[in-house]
Symmetry: D2
Subunit: 342 residues, 4 copies
């Protein structure tokens, strides 16, 4: 039976990406689209690329009747998200794409996001949405917290290595290159085309990016001790894509073996043959993540690289993958779209 | 029953786009991939974005056993295409994406392409593949000639207007803006990123672009007299997309009415409300074509604009749409993917 | 003796471009930079690419002492500009880059810009800043009104042809392709990189673009009768550049001859050999304008194309060229920088 | 007296960039342009952006009369360069932009470039062209070897720190992001716009990039012991720019102090205030290099970042700076052009 879906925050890029993916999903139907600032408009006006679809108009969130809704995606800004979700029916299945339920410790949340958490009970209930590592918990969860897009990319390469103990924990460096859409559709001077095109730079340098909260939490958990990595994101003049270059101390063969064992049966994580490296252009618009391993010329040092699409595998595709699990639909349903190249 | 598909010329962009679309088509299976220059390589090596698919390796075309093949897409260069197709089984259904069978008159072919046609009998048999206008012929055709990508775009806006007699035939101007992938994957200095990015220019100015052969043929046919338009393509620094700006003499209301009647039931042609204009970004990666009509401030003059993705609706998507018809599959199967934005 | 220069509106793109050009101008020195919204900041903070220069900080406009200023560039929004300039010393030489003094008839101004003109006396005094056609008036002007960037480009190809009577006046079409920086540094959703990159579209279709006011005024003036052209701008994903494709009725040879005579001695207008076409990439960052002429296959029709950089020859370079004339400096001083390619 | 200049390899991007810079250099005149593959063509045909200049046509290199030439820039491919320079007059001043004379040890050259060196005597004579560190030697040199563009960028941040002993030598990581023009104008599938635009990837991963030969040589020299760093370049969809992100062990304050002392009087190296980071967009088209230092949240770790334009400060601008020194012209002459933004 077709599941009825609501999307809150449908006027942003992750909301539109959810609609794009669900449009060809045989087991889901979009029943409500919430977007307070653009309420009253048709989706065709807000996102003309979706005009061929028969979609409900955007409405204010409190106008939505959640009675017949099977699952609700929440693609709202952090802080707003926890307030909105607190007011939703307590038995509604929810996949949240904001940062509000990613960190388990309220103190960590306040440290990284600057405001105290107002829905601590929900935070306890939430399951961290990194599908490949929390699959069983997600299947039975009511509230799943989508990961940060950078946090997902970094974990795909580092998490299994830390868990397996094949790399040193002291000098891990993650140098990320992120596409522009990760910053969302907000009006900021530094996101204008004329500012960004043909140039690139690092930001949040020195360990201030909020996704570090997730790295600290998850890497420390699997290591059984505190782990702190260095993480530098860079903004690249491309609309989609995250490329994570990880510098680790460990043997390339052992690292490749661990990743092969981890991802051998995963439908969306493609480990490349030893020595090959991924490119963001080869995952664009898809739910796939490509991972490569190369030994450095200096013995004992290895470079591990992952590429994914921040809007798909990094957020909305991951959210749909988790929703499939929560609704007992085949995990890959609606997500096997091939990347768009060129 | 799943249809067995062969693709010749699979190492080019239109070949890759066919694979991308067929990958999620429930009624087709790729049985053979031909590409002489890269024969012996895996598709994952030639197009890493397709590495998640279980595809046959590339082989030389004469190594393919066509016995079990239901339909063959031929995405080869013109001239090569007519030679290869001449050697294929005479009962094999074929969708050709080259220019070889678009023009009915061999003299026209030689005039525009510079070489005499070597398969005149096939040329007679071929049906012109502009689906919305040749649907019935395509259903029963053995050999369908895919249109030029610019030729399709221009016809979507001008053809119904010429046929309906609502525009003057003397001063039609078509100013096109084309993405880079339309030029294919060939090694030319003027296709390098460093040459193209951040700049744009007109080419084939003055009426020398080969797709004019199609405009002349088709517009004259529907007008019942010789029609010659002006056509200037421009190369734009974007990978996908064609935007056609048509300047015509006629009343905007009458023009919009004709287009509404023509496309009201078409699954892929979206006529925008009067006064709205399309953008290539809203059709990227999809089989949709958006059409807009705006009255000029000068009475009696109207601007008609179409946007489509040259690799999808302009070539490989059109080819698949035609193949569906030829194989008695639902016309939209595998083609309802929403555009990728941003 | 070095001339003292003030720039009002220095935090926008045309302001920054003025600073870039004046930085290597041997006869000018920047004495004051006004920008109300960013007053108090250093230019290095607002435009880090200018950090190597020894520049005054940004100040509020009413804090500037104009006593020692020889010439003031005014790069403010329209409407603001006429208010600010009204309050400046009456003997100060001014080059205004806004739209406020381009149209001679206050009724025309109100029609195109929506507000009544509040400085009609200044409007009468202003000289239209299309250097190649108003050179003598500019030399002795106190207030010069910089042209619209699109208006300059279109006039470079059409104005001499209309004046010489070598083209028909009824069916002139100007199809423009504009880079993103022409829209300035304002915060609009449709100027975000994620919205613009990899897509393009027409805007202000049907004769609503404000630069038509300039075309109407100037073309009617040189024709000695009312002339109304069709003009459709398109937004292209590139930061700089305007490409104007003009469709006219007239003989290509005669047209080329008129342009050769007009521009033979001009330092910045380069007429290409018959049949060659310009590209925006070949004028980027420079004050040059390249012009090409091609005969259409239809007898009596010709395509004329111009390319220039909207921020340089289209606005700030033009402004500096005019300032040189007003200050009795060699016209080309500071403007012979070669284009930046690639 | 104006110096007479020859440029060999003028049909490539670094050759064109030399012409662009010299075009406004008051003390130099281009007397000969050599380019074997395009000999006989005008520069305006090969590089239309230079059409406003009065330049000699391209000729075969052996047709150039070097009698009146004061200095010759050699912008040829490596291996070709050593052959050509061997045949030039022995007293001709030469700035070579190839890799042929960067490495002092012929065995190092053969190891990194794959062929034995055929001009070992010239190699001994050559001075390494990193201006800020070899200024005195360059002033009196006859043959200066331009550095690799990546090698220059990396040295600007790491070299003074290694020399001063303020960073550890064991775990230095250099993660570079390079624009497309660094790969030159050669016809390779992976340099096509449709391949590169909107995607990015690492290449030469694991320590195989040839510029490591320069890092090894120079860093070991200043350290007084063998130093081997990790170096991973990434190809970014932008035409110009190198951004080098260096990860070092050392105190940020000490590092900033060393760089301030090193570059305080340098005309082209701009050290940003502590905590600020550079962007390639702010040096585009200029000879400036911006350097930033940020302390990591992990004590004792620091990120040092440099941005420059690979075609200007990374190659042709550096070459002209060195030529000025060799010809006893002011070092900054012709090089103070402000960056082009946006």
């Amino acid at each position: 039976m077709t599941k009825q879906i609501a999307i809150l925050g449908a006027s942003g890029y992750t909301g539109a990406e959810l609609v794009r993916l669900i449009a060809t999903h045989p087991g889901m139907e979009i029943a409500a689209l919430g977007a307070n600032s653009k309420a009253g408009q048709s989706m065709a006006r807000v996102f003309p690329h979706l005009r061929h679809l028969d979609l409900p108009d955007l409405v204010k969130i409190d106008e939505i009747d959640f009675a017949g809704i099977d699952l609700c995606f929440c693609a709202l800004p952090h802080k707003t998200s926890q307030e909105v979700i607190s007011a939703l029916p307590k038995d509604l299945k929810i996949v949240d794409l904001s940062a509000d339920f990613r960190l388990r410790d309220p103190a960590d949340y306040e440290k990284w996001y600057g405001n105290p958490h107002s829905a601590v009970e929900l935070q306890k209930e939430a399951v961290y949405g990194l599908t490949e590592f929390y699959r069983d918990e997600i299947k039975s969860a009511r509230l799943v917290a989508g990961t940060g897009c950078n946090a997902a990319t970094g974990q795909y390469i580092l998490r299994p290595l830390i868990a397996a103990g094949v790399i040193g924990l002291e000098d891990i460096i993650l140098d990320l290159k992120c596409g522009v859409s990760g910053a969302g559709r907000s009006l900021k001077e530094n996101l204008l085309h004329a500012e960004l095109s043909e140039g690139y730079h690092a930001y949040a340098v020195g360990g201030t990016h909020r996704h570090l909260g997730e790295f600290d939490q998850e890497f420390s958990k699997v290591a059984g001790r505190d782990v702190r990595i260095q993480f530098t994101p860079h903004l690249i003049p491309a609309n989609r894509g995250i490329l994570a270059t990880g510098y680790v101390k460990g043997e390339a063969e052992a690292i490749h073996d661990v990743l092969a064992a981890q991802y051998g049966n995963e439908p969306f994580i493609e480990l490349l043959p030893m020595g090959e490296v991924p490119s963001t252009r080869h995952v664009r618009g898809s739910n796939f993540c490509h991972v490569g391993v190369v030994a450095d010329r200096i013995p004992g040092k290895t470079i591990v690289i992952a590429a994914l699409d921040n809007l798909t595998k990094g957020s909305s595709g991951q959210a749909l993958q988790n929703a499939n699990l929560m609704l007992n639909i085949q995990e890959t349903e609606g997500l096997m779209l091939a990347p768009v190249f060129p």
